[in-house]
Symmetry: C2
Subunit: 221 residues, 2 copies
DNA sequence: GTTGCAGTGCGATCAGTGTTCACACATTCA
DNA sequence: TGAATGTGTGAACACTGATCGCACTGCAAC
């Protein structure tokens, strides 16, 4: 049973996070100032420290939420796909990154120096959900027997075992995810500006080719 | 003819850059403090502004140098390769990133908000040298006729024309570079920590597979 | 029902940041 | 020699994240 105080605390906590997220979306993590967050919710800067021990803790919360949002978006697109679910998932990954560049940068950009996310911490588990969102279409293809063989390594087989996957599927999933991420991160961070104004067709054709090359694409009906 | 003053200025400028680079390598761009740089070369903080108009200008200089160093390292490994020059280049790319994580983060990590590198600025041209370092083995494969066909797009054909490449080779180069970058950036930024202590065999096998799948790998003699 | 305690918020304050400005010194050139 | 230009300094400003002691409030036990 939530006492009045617990409810208020929960509410204030959410308000802080919402204000921080708004600031993040405007100017990125570098422009996120605790003081600005505090005044935007009508609070003293010092008061924030009753809710978050420091700035990093607040960012960690935002990171966790960001991974969850990205994973959910990818899974949603995958499940709603008419044709190739893998391509749909990849496009959703890219779309979320382009729609939320500052949040994406917080997730996959420059890591905080000397900060190593604890192996079982909230950010690590949330991060793995993103990769996992790409897996189902790949296991389906594995059951169909169309999956291209990829050499697996010890590291990957343990990973596969942990996720209850056949090693071949894990190797393919790893290839696929890192490949998609490469294109998306370069584009989102502005390193593909020389490609011109509309790189969407290029990305789409890349993802389709990837799906076919790896044998993930479902047969045309 | 360099006057005495010009020589001194050049020297001080280099000293500042060297001190900044040292700080960057220790704690990353976030921990690079102008004041610390100033005192480390025995100068007043304000004096730095005679050489760099602001902090971003100093970072821009470091970025330019970083791209050049990375491109040079990749090119060196490619030219010195005994077997597959493309795989050697990819491994050099990864090796440089792992050896200089903070510099790599400065190049390809979270971009500065609202900062868009001018199309013909020093950072843009330096950045393109990195991608270009991967091209020669691909054009060789194109001449051999082993290159896998990749669907090209208008954006890529203009790029190919600008670099004097056949569009097919440009499409393959683009695929290859983004794929390599995906693996490297995830590993360098710590998102593949769950892979265990030694991901090098995995990376190597990935690069070899990429080279073969794209038809870049030279025939075994 | 009062008393005491934990939770909550605030103002003042500290160390540190990038940056600016007026001033002093050194170098260069006429 | 004198004027102009370049170079470096110390003080200051407006920020930042963070800490501390003091007040106030909700709550729970006596």
């Amino acid at each position: 049973m939530a006492t009045r105080r617990e409810r208020l605390r929960e509410q204030t906590s959410a308000e802080i996070k919402a204000a921080a997220l708004a600031q993040l979306r405007e100017g990125g993590a570098g422009a996120l100032s605790l003081r600005a967050v505090a005044v935007s919710i009508g609070m003293s800067p010092a008061g924030l420290y009753r809710y978050y021990p420091n700035r990093d803790a607040l960012l960690t919360d935002l990171i966790t939420d960001g991974f969850a949002a990205l994973a959910q978006e990818v899974a949603r697109a995958r499940d709603a796909a008419k044709g190739d679910a893998f391509v749909a998932a990849a496009l959703a990954y890219r779309g979320w990154a382009l729609d939320h560049p500052h949040e994406f940068a917080l997730l996959y950009g420059t890591p905080v120096p000397d900060y190593e996310a604890p192996e079982s911490g909230p950010t690590s588990t949330a991060s793995r959900q993103v990769g996992a969102a790409f897996v189902p279409p790949i296991t389906e293809a594995w059951h169909r027997g169309t999956l291209k063989h990829r050499e697996s390594t010890p590291a990957l087989t343990t990973f596969a075992a942990a996720m209850g996957l056949p090693p071949e599927a894990a190797a393919v999933a790893f290839s696929a995810w890192t490949t998609i991420h490469g294109l998306v991160v370069l584009e989102t961070f502005g390193h593909l500006a020389w490609l011109g104004e509309n790189p969407t067709p290029l990305a789409t054709s890349r993802f389709r080719a990837l799906s076919e090359d790896l044998g993930i694409a479902p047969p045309e009906n």
